[in-house]
């Protein structure tokens, strides 16, 4: 029983981080119907930018994190300007394909600049380890869950309570209508990519903190695929729920099925779950129910 609770808790904590990753995909998908396959590279770039501020410049954490995020946002915006903007008005599929190429290019660039070795990544944050009887949640996992949920809250606030948020949601629904009413759709797309890069960077910093940072850390970004497909590609709440489901699934499989001899099965399990979900609900659990006027 203690085992189960421990597993569930750990699954939920990592699940929130996955949810944040999923959010990074969802905001872009809503705005342009393109899937950003370069998410892993965004994650690595965000982490490295934070690494520069925190480990190289020795800034305090609560200064380095916002600076790192602003830098990641700027990087996301720059990438959008160079690769996505020229495609405005083309099909979303061409944007999706562009992100595939973008992923290879960014991965190679990171390798070129930072090398292929691992950087030790250890944030000396106040100890938040939770110890309840036989339960133990390590500090970095608790921090990861906590910061991710805060970041999630910030993004929700931005999307639903600010003028830019309203404009982003309007543009997501229809670029032409938005432009007819004076919303600059091109700028909105830039903002969306910056926002997505920032949310992915938060998740990236937290994931790097579990171990080390190298250009291969980006593989963790692929977790976002089952997350958004289970939750629904265009649902913000679905990203969080999908993240929690994937986190739980991974944790449960890791502690109950893998010991039976199926090593590595926890990486596959979310995809199996994904298949089952898609059989039952092709648009994901929370994919938009299209408004039908009757």
């Amino acid at each position: 029983m203690v085992d189960l609770i421990q597993t569930l808790g750990a699954g939920l904590l990592i699940g929130i981080v996955y949810g944040l990753l999923g959010l990074g995909i969802v905001v872009i998908f809503r705005a342009s119907e393109a899937f950003n396959f370069a998410i892993g590279e965004f994650l690595v770039i965000g982490s490295f930018l934070f690494y520069i501020f925190f480990f190289d410049l020795h800034l305090p954490f609560f200064l380095a994190l916002p600076l790192g995020l602003v830098a990641s946002g700027a990087a996301g915006a720059l990438i959008e300007r160079l690769s996505i903007k020229p495609l405005l008005g083309r099909s979303a599929l061409s944007m999706t394909i562009i992100t595939l190429g973008l992923a290879s290019m960014l991965r190679a660039s990171v390798q070129l600049i930072f090398g292929a070795h691992s950087y030790s990544f250890f944030l000396e944050l106040p100890d938040l380890s939770l110890e309840l009887g036989n339960l133990l949640f390590p500090s970095e996992r608790v921090w990861a869950g906590l910061l991710s949920i805060i970041a999630f809250g910030f993004i929700l606030f931005f999307l639903f309570r600010t003028r830019w948020g309203v404009a982003i949601r309007a543009t997501s629904e229809s670029q032409s209508k938005a432009m007819a009413f004076g919303i600059d759709a091109r700028f909105i797309l830039l903002m969306v990519w910056a926002l997505s890069a920032m949310s992915i960077a938060v998740a990236g910093v937290m994931i790097s903190n579990f171990g080390a940072l190298s250009y291969m850390t980006g593989i963790a970004g692929l977790r976002a695929i089952p997350v958004v497909l289970i939750g629904g590609m265009d649902s913000i709440g679905g990203a969080l729920i999908g993240g929690l489901i994937v986190g739980l699934c991974e944790a449960l499989v890791g502690s109950y099925i893998e010991p039976l001899g199926l090593v590595g099965f926890k990486d596959v399990a979310p995809y199996l779950l994904l298949l089952i979900v898609l059989f039952i609900r092709p648009y994901g659990l929370f994919g938009t129910v299209r408004i039908e006027r009757v």
Binding site: E173, K177, A180, F181, G182, I183, D184, I291
Partner: protein
């Protein structure tokens, strides 16, 4: 005053839609454009409001002016901000998944002054029914309410010139009448209005002047009264006039006359 001079527009570099349209909308008046489907009415409005890019259309000749300055090549955001020219697209251009209030707020995005709340109240003054629906998603409101919202949204941009693309599309005659009354009221308050309509009778009824667009050309123009009296307009756009079937020869006569106009 809005003027379009000899405008030619092609889509995808090959499909020619406007073949030299010239047309004037004097300030403070309602100008009506009528024409059959495919005549180029919507394209004309898209060109004026700077939305052609989005549809892969290009202006290859001609000019569009507000007052004395050319607005050709500007995008919609600049045209709204600098010239106060707003385009209300056809088929009720509201954001379905946003509430009525958010729709109005989204349309006010191009403005930075603090009077947004005040203008929202003004819109609710024009359309009291929207006030009660303010926190409802626009997709769940009726067609008439959506068109009212669309007009309200255009007002949120503080326009001096509004282009309406078939506001009566798919609406009951009573609702259409009310919308046209509001459009007339806006005009009396000093707004210049360009009204594209299939419902030629009602539109010419409130308009000051009008023109007929066919195959990307203006084939007739004049005061609204004159157009209402014109025999060809009556026959082809108002469904009145000769009741008996016309012979092919007569149709040819009309076509030939059109070519010279």
């Amino acid at each position: 005053m809005l003027s379009v001079e000899n405008l030619r527009v092609v889509y995808h570099d090959v499909i020619s839609i406007l073949n030299g349209v010239s047309f004037k909308a004097p300030g403070g008046e309602i100008s009506v454009i009528i024409g059959a489907n495919g005549a180029g009415k919507t394209t004309l409005l898209r060109a004026i409001s700077g939305m052609l890019d989005l549809y892969d259309g290009d202006v290859i000749e001609g000019d569009i002016k507000v007052g004395d300055s050319s607005i050709l090549g500007l995008d919609s955001t600049d045209i709204i901000r600098k010239y106060g020219l707003t385009y209300v697209m056809e088929d009720r251009p509201v954001f379905w998944y946003l509430t009525i209030e958010e729709n109005l707020a989204a349309a006010a995005y191009s403005r930075w002054d603090g009077a947004v709340k005040m203008d929202m109240e003004k819109v609710f003054g024009y359309f009291p029914v929207l006030r009660n629906l303010r926190s409802q998603k626009a997709g769940y409101t009726s067609g008439g309410e959506q068109q009212m919202l669309a007009i309200g949204m255009s007002l949120m941009t503080r326009p001096k010139i509004i282009l309406f693309d078939e506001p009566s599309l798919g609406l009951a005659p009573l609702i259409t009448e009310e919308l046209f009354r509001i459009i007339q009221q806006l005009n009396r308050e000093g707004m210049t209005i360009v009204l594209v309509e299939q419902n030629a009778h009602a539109a010419l009824g409130i308009g000051h002047r009008g023109c007929v667009l066919e195959n990307g050309r203006v084939v007739l123009e004049g005061s609204a009264e004159a157009l209402l009296e014109n025999e060809d307009v009556r026959e082809f756009y108002l469904g009145a006039g000769a009741k008996q079937r016309r012979s092919y020869q007569d149709a040819k006569r009309y076509k030939r006359r059109k070519r010279w106009l």
